[in-house]
Symmetry: C2
Subunit: 384 residues, 2 copies
């Protein structure tokens, strides 16, 4: 097995791009990543995407993006794991390069959620849950998370306002990220007064519906070093899964898939949580941020909120999270999110995160989650 | 890079399974393949599927099938490349095992096309084509193939009846395949009188809309040999892509992606077309069977039909195709088809194809196509 480096990154601004099609979003990210890497070809292209069929009437994104990006002929597939599709595609790229099956792989995550064919986007997102045993009974992704959040508040004695620090931190970090969707701050007070979506989840607990694409170029470490920037290697790429339906779990407050995925990643990289300098976690809802911190070993069970309350999740904190705005404020174009996370970790490890730079960032972790914790992909990256 | 073996295969009967859900179809195939391989666990599960979101309201099949099959926790993703999704998933499994990232991978292709949520299945299948430049103008998958078929007839001077041998051969071979959907023969005369679908494509030029699942278990060659059967290794796994839209091609009668994919496979395996004992080709429509034979080097351009007319595609012919019924008569549950093809090649190479056994089959090829030739995945398998 070879070590793998991220030799190029690219991203589009996240937002509601009513005038830009899915293929153009993907193209912009791929071209940016290829330019950053200084490459003009690839051995394979893997596309992370969840809902192009349902929302855009377009499957078969591998061949579509390959052709549109000038890579006609190349191996190209779409990889899907609900909101974890982006990191799943990165994982497949990692497998191909690490195993020696490919020397240059482009991975692009893309999602187009505005300007859709008509189906309700919330209903489409519910396809990440169990169609027969959750969605068929009216559960949406928001309501499932609301149940988990309510249970968390009940079990550990928190109030809704205790979740505010995640949203406040995410919006604060998005301010200086030109690719973020929401470049404005939110206060605790604004969080308190935000419109209710599905009790106890309000608007500022939730990530937005939006469009975006992000891409990375992977190559064997050592063979291709970036001319002018720090080299970033992938120290671990790991996956863990759990039941698709939340009600099938012994404890709905434990992300067993995330525990498994994190542990596998720590073992592969030979690191512990204390070695991680920043953590791009999957804050689709504030409750998921809390549960992720706990599953990944940064907080004891029921203490994820306390970590946030203590100010430890900020850029200068013990474990900075969502350093460029996270799903909440950078935005959550679902199949693209996992690649955005990797791009942002690379920015941090290269020391190019600008105002959001985590001091002396050397090891960064990105964790992308599909469904309510059913598929969890963890990547640990390291500045070489 | 390690050599990879197919150590287990499983399949469900193809048909209209109104009373069986997608997860149960997948389970049946996975359990059969695991039993055949004699394994009770796996390092990864890759699911080939195209339309579960559009037709069943269910994405996220990786975690769903992993959990339902008793593999909770395992790495699991869905791989999509339109009608080539099945072989694309096999390709990803091959990459993982060949590269040493996994020692035991289960690949299942599954598609549920009956008992759907409501969208028109023909419209859903058109998502394999270019949504903006083909489907948006009313093109369906049948009409695109009809245009290509008409052009082929015009350019090479064939009549519709010249395509009959493909359908006759497929139905003949399905007779003895207990997993085939159409176990009845069709004559040339029946072909001539079949109902017109999209001129010149009639009902017997077309593969059916149906349900099914097939699975394989992959492991390093040598480490795990089947106790009582011939070992089957994967001598080549190769992908080629082409423009998504047919109108973007220099010549719509040349499957450039299939030429590329075949050539890459031949090079990897160190074989020529003359070395192939059977060819499971992608006969979604009879025209695709002809074009595939030409692209893979079994016939000169415009001569694919002649090969069929000369009786060379039968079990005892020069290049037996669709030996268990093919897409036409075994059936074409789109995301499962590529895995069915591999399963059938393994049956042949193990010498367990019963009445359809190709004598002394030692090298078999399976070629799965997504879209109108936009993604082409070729596997060459070998009896060790």
């Amino acid at each position: 097995m070879r070590e793998v480096a991220v030799i190029g990154v690219g991203q589009t601004e996240v937002g509601e791009h009513w005038g830009v099609s899915l293929r153009h979003l993907a193209l912009e990210a791929v071209q940016a990543a290829m330019a950053d890497a200084g490459v003009v070809r690839a051995d394979a292209l893997y596309v992370g995407n969840m809902l192009s069929g349902e929302l855009e009437g377009q499957e078969h994104l591998g061949a579509l993006v390959a052709d549109f990006a000038g890579l006609r002929g190349v191996e190209a597939f779409k990889i899907e794991a609900a909101c974890g599709s982006g990191a799943a595609a990165v994982r497949m790229g990692y497998v191909a390069v690490a195993g020696g099956l490919a020397d240059l792989v482009i991975v692009v995550g893309v999602e187009k959620m505005t300007d859709t064919l008509g189906p309700d986007t919330t209903a489409a997102l519910a396809m990440a849950a169990d169609a027969d045993y959750e969605a068929a009974h009216g559960a949406s992704f928001v309501t499932l998370n609301a149940l988990v959040m309510r249970r968390y508040m009940h079990q550990y004695g928190y109030g809704h306002q205790d979740f505010a620090p995640f949203a406040v931190n995410a919006h604060q970090n998005a301010l200086a990220n030109p690719y973020a969707m929401f470049r404005f701050p939110v206060s605790s007070e604004k969080f308190r007064r935000a419109r209710m979506i599905s009790d106890p989840i309000n608007l500022l607990d939730s990530s937005p519906i939006c469009d975006g694409a992000a891409a990375v170029v992977l190559a064997p470490l050592g063979e291709t070093r970036h001319q002018s920037m720090a080299t970033v290697g992938i120290a671990a790429s790991a996956v863990g899964t759990d039941t698709l339906a939340v009600h099938d779990r012994n404890d709905p407050l434990v992300l067993a898939g995330a525990e498994l995925s994190s542990q596998r990643a720590y073992n592969a990289a030979g690191v512990r949580p204390a070695d991680i300098d920043l953590f791009e976690l999957h804050d689709a809802f504030t409750i998921m941020a809390a549960l992720s911190l706990e599953a990944a070993g940064f907080a004891d069970r029921g203490r994820g909120l306390a970590l946030a309350a203590d100010g430890e999740i900020g850029i200068e904190g013990r474990i900075p999270v969502t350093t460029m705005g996270g799903l909440k404020a950078r935005g959550h174009p679902v199949g693209a999110t996992g690649v955005y996370q990797i791009v942002e970790v690379v920015q941090q490890l290269r020391g190019l995160a600008g105002e959001n730079q985590v001091p002396n960032a050397r090891v960064g972790m990105a964790q992308n989650i599909g469904g309510s914790g059913a598929t969890v992909i963890t990547h640990i990256l390291e500045r070489i």
